[in-house]
Symmetry: C2
Subunit: 451 residues, 2 copies
């Protein structure tokens, strides 16, 4: 695919140099909008605007929808008011909402003025739903049918209204109060005899969500029921919009990114990495780093308490990094498995006991292997049998600790209705570190008869 784009890029450059604009137009017409958007992204602003104006209007809108935030702003700034109006009007409602979300409020107000009264009302409605709600990203461009219709009438209505609709493959049957009565697929309509009453084909128990439903929840519902379209209803159960296939993919990707960030102790970053400012990125990372370093201050206190042990046996210090690192690693592993299981719904709250049992067992297994290695090393360093034994016991202990803490904390978060992913690796590592140090020096005190 990348090769293909490079070839296109070369052709575009050549045709542009030779001023063969008609051929350029025809070339663009054979390409996918997303590829054109990428090629335009590599051009300087004036050339980009020029090339963009070569595109036929429908294609121009599609290409615009695929452009990055900063490029879009630049383009809009350079356009005449008529050009802006024609693009904004032609965008689909959910893409327009996404565009408005990323622009400054002032620009949005200006852009809203380009819309027709009806379009403006719709845009405002969508913008007023909370940013992470289904209402915010739904599109009101669905096909509605009435209960009393026949198949032939339904198909006629679909043909007549299809042009501005997001999908024609599912239509929505509404009662007189615009309440959702059911859905009917184009497939069933096509395959049925024209005079069949619509009611014979309607799925009367459609799955739906509310405008206030969280987007992640809506995505899960679509994925669970393998739906390509999900109806969104208001408080009175009137159908106000639908979510479609492309919305859900974006949500799933964004949620995964957020979970990755949370698990590394980073507060969710809205922008892409390259677009985000250094200070903003640092701020998103600072919270958990501060929590961890403040917690780690206890580790200094613990070690200070055991000064007597360190002074009489300095070799004990040699294994501190190995020990706490191993505990942190196993904790992160266990937490990752449990968090992912809780997130995709494979693990439920009632599985806690089973999970802890499993982690104890695997901790014992893993700990034994790692302990053998570490204590053998201690022995070859000539630290003596006592230190080697202390290391062995502590590694097994710290691996089990890591597994149990890593498995338990996500359950606790979930219990308090917090995203289990906030029980991030850094935090779990810190907790396990401190418990592990206590364990290590207590074992040392007993085994070596110190203090």
């Amino acid at each position: 695919m990348t090769d293909l784009r490079n070839k296109f890029l070369e052709s575009v450059d050549k045709l542009f140099e030779r001023r063969q604009f008609q051929s350029l137009k025809e070339l663009f017409d054979t390409m996918e909008p997303v590829d054109i958007a990428e090629i335009l992204a590599e051009k300087a602003a004036p050339e980009r605007a020029f090339l963009f104006r070569l595109l036929p209007k429908d294609l121009a809108v599609d290409v615009f929808e695929f452009m990055e935030g900063s490029e879009r702003e630049e383009m809009l700034a350079g356009f005449t008011d008529t050009e802006v109006a024609s693009i904004i009007e032609a965008m689909s409602d959910d893409d327009r909402t996404a565009l408005f979300d990323e622009l400054p409020a002032q620009t949005v107000t200006k852009l809203l003025s380009h819309l027709s009264a009806e379009e403006r009302k719709l845009a405002n409605t969508l913008l007023n739903y909370p940013a992470d709600s289904a209402g915010h990203i739904m599109t009101p461009e669905f096909i509605d049918l009435k209960e009393g219709m026949t198949v032939a009438q339904a198909i006629d209505r679909i043909r007549a209204t299809a042009a501005r609709k997001e999908t024609i493959y599912t239509s929505f049957v509404l009662g007189p109060d615009r309440r959702l009565k059911g859905t009917v697929s184009l497939e069933d309509l096509i395959l049925a005899a024209p005079e069949t009453p619509l009611t014979a084909l309607v799925d009367g128990n459609p799955v739906f969500v509310a405008t206030s439903t969280d987007q992640e929840e809506a995505a899960k519902t679509m994925s669970r029921y393998d739906l390509q379209t999900l109806p969104v209803v208001d408080k009175e159960e009137r159908l106000v919009g639908i979510l479609t296939f492309d919305d859900i993919l974006d949500i799933v990707q964004e949620e995964a990114t957020e979970d990755f960030e949370r698990m590394a102790g980073i507060r969710p970053v809205e922008e892409g990495y390259l677009d985000a400012g250094v200070v903003m990125l640092a701020r998103k990372r600072l919270t958990w780093l501060l929590v961890c370093i403040v917690t780690q201050l206890f580790s200094s206190t613990i070690l200070e308490r055991y000064t007597f042990a360190l002074e009489s046996m300095v070799a004990l210090a040699f294994f501190i990094p190995l020990l706490i690192d191993t505990g942190g690693n196993t904790g992160t592993q266990a937490a990752t498995l449990v968090i992912r299981g809780l997130t995709v719904g494979e693990i439920g709250m009632s599985d806690l006991r089973g999970v802890l049992f499993k982690e104890s067992l695997s901790g014992l297994l893993l700990g034994s292997v790692l302990a053998a290695l570490a204590s053998f090393r201690a022995w070859t360093m000539g630290t003596g049998f006592g230190v080697a034994l202390t290391v062995a016991i502590s590694v097994v202990g710290v691996v089990m600790l890591g597994n149990l803490v890593g498995a338990l904390l996500p359950f606790i978060a979930k219990k308090f209705r917090i995203d289990p992913a906030v029980m991030s690796g850094p935090f779990i590592t810190t907790v396990v570190d401190i418990l592990g140090l206590l364990l290590y020096f207590e074992v040392a005190r007993r085994v070596l008869g110190l203090g």
Copy 2:
């Protein structure tokens, strides 16, 4: 949704106790297959088999497709040969392939014998593509049209063949050699006049992949071009199957899970957490733990080399956990941001310099804040100005180290065409630990004038 399932569950129990099987049948008919599968999962095997037999055949197949691996095996074992044959035959090809994947080879051979000769050939073909290829999960159940048709002929063919096809919303126009000439949407067909030649509606530049294309790659292509259906062609560019919407969602979820596991230093686990055995889980986790602990053995050697420093200033040991933990945390954060950026394609190889610059700057910022906190603590512990200064310098240094190593290693992996996510948190932590310890003791030696 969960409340709804609980209510269904109660009703099913009541009707079952009262032996009102006709009402049970009717209740099942109003429910979604995935919900029925979940209710059956909570029943003991004999009751489950009994309830399953109440389902009408179409619904039974749908429910079966939603069941878990172990339940399916149990069900198949309890069925008569005729029952097995009717279910296996009626399943869609891609779901059947998924079923065969999780069963023992012997059972698969037995099940294949239940299929008609043609179905068996198809199943075998799909099974012989590598497990992570597009060919393995594609379905050959697509609608094919000929170039010379009119719209009316095309719609007639769709009606006639729709029953066993995965989707009727996109049809595929093939040349005489079965090469893919283009695609046409049902939407365009419905909206066009019946006598229009098909060629007028065909998209002649469809995006497609090869049977050997990696599933992840295919999912990215579908997501990139917002496709609901993706054609899969063989080496001679003949159309052999399609991927659909529900396939891609599963792939995206699985890939995210794998990346989570890799980043925590766990080799990808095929089963869900609860289904996976303890020994298998431990094996998947052991590799990276071993790599890390062997690398950590160097840390013991480093600390041994600096025994003189530890003996003359035991307070230096107090800050070892804090220091290496902070380095590991910042390294994991930086790696997560960079890996995710590389995975979703937002960061490219050419961005390396920009990324390293950004991470240096944010390292300086974050390091300064954390260093102020840590050295203030050192000072209040009465360790003296020298140790406090050593801690301050080292924290800034280790945070910058963490950022640079965390950002650089994923780029190196990508360069060698390895998934950047294998540069797992545990490994980055270990590398940063060791470099951080060296830095700490070298700073200490100079600031405190030791050795």
